[in-house]
């Protein structure tokens, strides 16, 4: 995998992970182009598209798009399930994850991703093992985690990404 982007329906980038060396300018250019391309697609369209010399695999979960760029010989369907497993991990960790969790706890989203994928390849696919690693790290916190309560203005960001069915 060359990179993974999470962005909202409004085109706001929520998470970016690059597995190939690119300049900030290139990253911005790619992000802009890809967000536009994916947002322009209709809901029933297929989850894969050719883009430059890469294959793009994307899926929408509630208000968020998860989008991965893979190479010619990589497997599209397994990438789709990489995305899903990542959403499951986030969901389990945050408990019914929604976009707002990822906005406010972006660093956690990065840590979970690093436990799951490294160098663009699946490192550990067991949900239990990944979560155990993250929770162990949480236990190492010196300050007792205290809950921060916040108020906000839109319910849009609160839709659970994973639908239960």
């Amino acid at each position: 995998m060359q990179f993974m982007l999470l962005f909202s329906r409004q085109g706001k980038l929520r998470l970016q992970k690059w597995y190939v060396p690119l300049s900030d300018k290139e990253k911005k250019k790619i992000t802009r182009e890809l967000v536009q391309t994916v947002l322009a697609r209709k809901p029933k369209m297929c989850s894969f598209l050719e883009w430059r010399d890469l294959k793009v695999v994307y899926k929408r979960y509630a208000s968020l798009y998860f989008c991965c760029a893979i190479e010619e010989q990589d497997n599209e369907l397994i990438t789709l399930e990489i995305i899903h497993r990542y959403v499951e991990l986030l969901d389990k960790y945050f408990g019914s994850v929604c976009e707002l969790d990822i906005i406010f706890n972006f660093e956690k989203a990065y840590f979970i991703l690093d436990e799951f994928l490294l160098g663009g390849e699946a490192q550990e696919t067991s949900k239990k093992t990944v979560l155990k690693a993250i929770e162990q790290a949480d236990l190492l916190q010196e300050v007792r985690p205290h809950v921060v309560t916040l108020h906000f203005n839109s319910a849009l960001f609160l839709i659970r990404l994973l639908r239960l069915n």
Partner: protein
């Protein structure tokens, strides 16, 4: 409603994020961010030492601001400090900041590496993992230099924790991708293969990716992985779904690992060992069988995971291309997917079948699905799926179904997306030519193409139809009749006028017997289009008119009148005016015989690969298209011969009174047994000097270039006291066999004897036809004391030699800079200085590179800005460049903008090597 921030509760961070989200406008957001940046800056600069928690919080805020898309130019030091904290979360945030905001500041890299080193040797697995993740995320050369030799031992040590092994494996994979030269191969490689046997499936999953990457580079060294991978795969596919516990994903056993193992096996040919081979075949059969079983779950995750493994298995079957039964089964399976209700599966089935079509075992089986694929072309709602259908039709096309497929593609073209029209046009043109049994069908098809999608028909396509008509007598009359009829349409595309003008000018006589297409009618028809056309088309029509004067003396006066009119003789366009004057004069003074000789029918074109095919290859990249059988391609079985002085296509087609070189002398390519190829970057910015020297021979060069032409004087000095006999020296141009030549080089023959101590001179004349990458090679052969010597030297003929400097004002420069703003037009690179950073030397190098140095353009006087135009025969490419030195970091940033992606890239590669 309240939201809960889980984690370590950096309240200040949450409040800040909340503030940003409440900003009503972009301006308000920028204001809030600037306020925060000022606050953080003062905290970092303040006298009071910050505690770890505050440092962590501020670094995290900076990270958030950066991720919003703002530039961050401080805080790196504080982040690095966090690495040495013994508190896990502080360390973690420090690493995250570094992973996201890699900075090539060398001082910092040393400090970062220091932090990583401490954690790697800490024996604390969570710290080790953080360090390994950071290396894997950054993957820079400096990190590879520092750690590439250390990580293998962590990976294979007996006492390393599983999770650390996993991180180490993928960390090595990343380093091997970015700096393969720094990852030492050695004793550990044998042990790493055995990780495929590890009892922890997570370790196997991570290791499988690493082994695949290594095996792609040196397959021989990792051959033992085949049997281990097959054994592992076999255990997975035959396991009951619960056996693998948490590695079972929606009732599919270890799908990620299965896919990786199947991918690893694609680095190799089928196993030679019979038992192993049959075990693998069993695995593949089991996977194919499972596809037929009823699903264990209705969830899409179940079917996706199952099919991911299936598609990878099919990819392996296609890669092996050796088991006909498996190939046909794979094809049938994909055939089922072609009609699946899931769009994703239809897309993948079309894609996968494309590769299956090129196997001799399954080509026929793929063809049976033609109706489904055609139906997909008509009914799919998603353009990317239709695109796959077009690709598949192209791949499955052969003589038996060509007419049907071409007809379907043509009818699809009428409604096709603009984004893919040009590609379809190319494909139709190629198939029509490749499988043309009678050329009337071919001519009809191309004219249809022009009629339906004229704007998307590139020059290559209409050049090609003319080449074919000229080379094949049997189709000329039909072509003349057909274009004549097509031109009757009240509005026809300019490309049709071009083809029509050219063909009637050559073969209008073949239909002139019919009173409905008498010479005058033909002329009037062409001339009725004249005023609607662009200058190049008008020029072509004028040439057609002079050809008419030769073919049909009866219309001579009519045409002379037209040429004589003010709108021609005083045309504002120089080319048109010149043609009108010259043609008129020619028709007045030349005798019928002379006219007939000058305006004789064009001789056949040399058979060569169609430039259309080359164009499609360039569009799609190599490897995607089925190979074209060359003998079939040429139709008459002529083997293509390379031409040393091939004129450009356009020159071929313009019927001017300049004689066209009718025969071509093939370039002599000397195959050397002892090759010494020297790539000499010293000559990028200079034209003269010694390019090669050994005990026997010295080769020196003097070169001069003007626009797209160049001349090189090569001096061969015999350093011995003995004669060189049978001396020969010729030029070959590499890697150009598939396209028409980008460089034409003519080497004057040399004397076969070089006396001891004497010097021999050879002149090379060079013409740059289009932009190019590969330097030509000078092949030298001679006998010295009975032994045959072969020497091959790369000639320093690079694209930048064809620069003409252009001076311009600051304002013009920026205007052009903006015009070249399309992402592909710009290439940028950042690199470390290899030589002392001296302004005068840099100035000299940039001037030597061929561009004009523009003073006072860049606001920063330390930067260099240049501009020039690359001249090639086919086109001129304007080029702007900017070089920004960073003396402190000893780095440069080089940016090039030209109207052509390939030119930008090539020039950037050449110049960045110079400093």
């Amino acid at each position: 409603m309240p939201a809960v921030s889980k984690g370590d509760g950096m309240r200040g961070l949450a409040v800040f994020i909340s503030d940003i989200r409440n900003c009503k406008s972009k301006e308000a957001e920028v204001k809030r961010i600037n306020k925060e940046l000022a606050n953080i800056r003062s905290k970092f600069k303040g006298d009071k030492a910050l505690d770890g928690y505050s440092k962590k919080k501020y670094v995290c805020k900076l990270l958030f601001i950066f991720l919003l898309g703002h530039d961050i130019d401080f805080g790196h030091m504080e982040a690095v400090n966090l690495l040495s904290s013994n508190k896990y979360t502080e360390k973690q945030i420090g690493y995250l900041f570094i992973s996201v905001l890699v900075n090539s500041n060398s001082d910092l890299i040393r400090l970062i590496n220091n932090g990583i080193k401490n954690d790697l040797t800490s024996r604390n697995p969570t710290f080790m993992n953080l360090a390994l993740h950071c290396i894997a995320n950054v993957g820079s050369r400096e990190m590879a230099e520092a750690f590439a030799s250390q990580i293998p031992s962590i990976l294979v040590a007996g006492d390393t924790m599983d999770s650390v092994k996993q991180s180490a494996a993928l960390c090595l994979l990343r380093l091997n991708r970015t700096s393969p030269d720094l990852v030492p191969m050695g004793e550990w490689t044998a042990r790493v293969v055995h990780l495929l046997n590890d009892q922890h499936l997570g370790v196997v999953t991570a290791a499988a990716s690493l082994i695949t990457t290594l095996a792609q580079k040196s397959p021989e060294d990792f051959k033992t992985s085949i049997s281990l991978a097959v054994a592992r795969l076999s255990r997975i596919v035959t396991s009951a779904s619960i056996d693998l516990q948490d590695y079972t994903y929606y009732f599919v056993a270890a799908p990620w690992l299965s896919v990786k193992l199947l991918r690893l096996l694609q680095c190799y040919t089928p196993p030679e060992d019979a038992a192993l081979r049959s075990r693998l075949t069993e695995c593949l059969e089991t996977i194919l069988n499972k596809a037929q079983e009823p699903p264990k779950s209705k969830k899409v995750q179940h079917s996706n995971a199952k099919n991911a493994v299936l598609f990878e298995a099919i990819a392996l079957i296609i890669h092996h291309d050796s088991e006909p039964t498996l190939l046909v089964r794979a094809c049938n399976q994909l055939g089922q997917f072609l009609q699946h209700r899931e769009t994703n599966l239809r897309y993948l089935a079309l894609e996968s079948m494309c590769t299956l079509a090129s196997s001799e075992f399954s080509h026929e089986a793929v063809k049976t699905h033609i109706d489904t694929v055609i139906n997909a072309l008509k009914t799919e709602r998603d353009v990317s799926v239709r695109q796959r259908a077009v690709d598949l039709l192209y791949a499955m096309c052969d003589r038996s179904n060509a007419k049907q497929i071409v007809a379907e593609m043509l009818s699809y073209l009428e409604n096709a997306d603009y984004s893919i029209r040009e590609e379809i046009v190319l494909k139709v043109a190629i198939l029509a030519e490749k499988y043309a049994v009678d050329y009337t069908w071919y001519v009809d098809t191309i004219l249809n193409l022009i009629r339906m999608a004229g704007d998307h028909v590139s020059e290559e396509v209409w050049y090609r139809v003319i080449q074919i008509v000229i080379n094949r007598d049997e189709v000329q009359g039909y072509a003349a009749k057909t274009v004549f009829e097509a031109l009757q349409a009240p509005a026809c595309h300019e490309n049709l006028v071009k083809v029509g003008g050219y063909i009637l000018g050559e073969f209008g006589n073949l239909i002139a017997g019919d009173s409905r297409s008498s010479p005058l009618v033909q002329f009037d028809l062409l001339h009725s289009k004249f005023h609607l056309c662009s200058v190049p088309t008008r020029a072509l029509l004028l040439s057609a008119y002079i050809k008419f004067i030769n073919l049909f003396p009866e219309v001579k006066t009519t045409i002379q009148e037209v040429l004589r009119s003010d709108s021609q003789l005083r045309n504002a366009d120089v080319e048109l005016q010149q043609r009108a004057i010259e043609y008129l004069r020619l028709s007045c003074i030349a005798s019928t015989d002379i006219l007939a000789t000058v305006l004789e029918e064009m001789p056949p074109f040399p058979e060569r690969e169609s430039s259309i095919l080359a164009k499609l290859k360039r569009k799609k990249g190599p490897g995607i298209l089925p190979d074209i059988d060359d003998t079939r391609w040429n139709g008459n079985g002529n083997v293509e011969h390379s031409e040393s002085s091939s004129p450009s296509l356009m020159a071929d087609l313009l019927p001017t009174n300049r004689p066209r070189p009718s025969s071509s002398s093939p370039t002599i390519v000397v195959r050397c047994t002892f090759v010494t190829v020297l790539v000499n970057s010293r000559f990028v910015c200079k034209n003269n000097g010694v390019i090669f020297e050994n005990q026997l021979l010295q080769i020196g060069l003097k070169s001069e270039y003007r626009q797209n032409l160049g001349r090189i004087y090569v001096f061969f000095g015999n350093k011995t006291s003995t004669q060189f006999l049978s001396f020969s020296s010729s030029v070959s141009v590499e890697a150009l066999t598939l396209r028409s030549p980008q460089l034409n080089i003519h080497a004057k023959a040399v004397d076969p004897t070089v006396e001891g101590g004497a010097q021999l001179q050879q002149i090379l004349n060079i013409e740059c036809v289009s932009d190019f990458t590969d330097a030509p090679v000078l092949d030298i052969q001679f006998r010295y004391g009975g032994a045959l010597q072969n020497i091959a030297v790369k000639l320093p003929v690079m694209l930048n030699k064809f620069f003409q400097p252009t001076e311009m004002k600051s304002q013009d420069f920026f205007q052009r800079w903006k015009q070249l703003g399309v992402p592909q037009q710009e290439v940028q690179t950042i690199f470390k200085a290899k030589h002392p950073m001296d302004t005068d030397v840099t100035n000299a190098k940039i001037l030597g590179f061929g561009v004009a140095l523009l003073d006072g353009v860049d606001p920063n006087p330390a930067n260099f800005v240049g501009s020039g135009v690359i001249h090639t025969k086919s086109t001129q490419v304007g080029c702007l460049l900017r070089l920004e030195p960073n003396a402190q970091a000893e780095m440069y940033r080089l940016t090039l903008r030209t109207s052509r992606e390939s030119v930008s890239q090539r020039l950037c590669d050449l110049l960045s090597d110079q400093f």
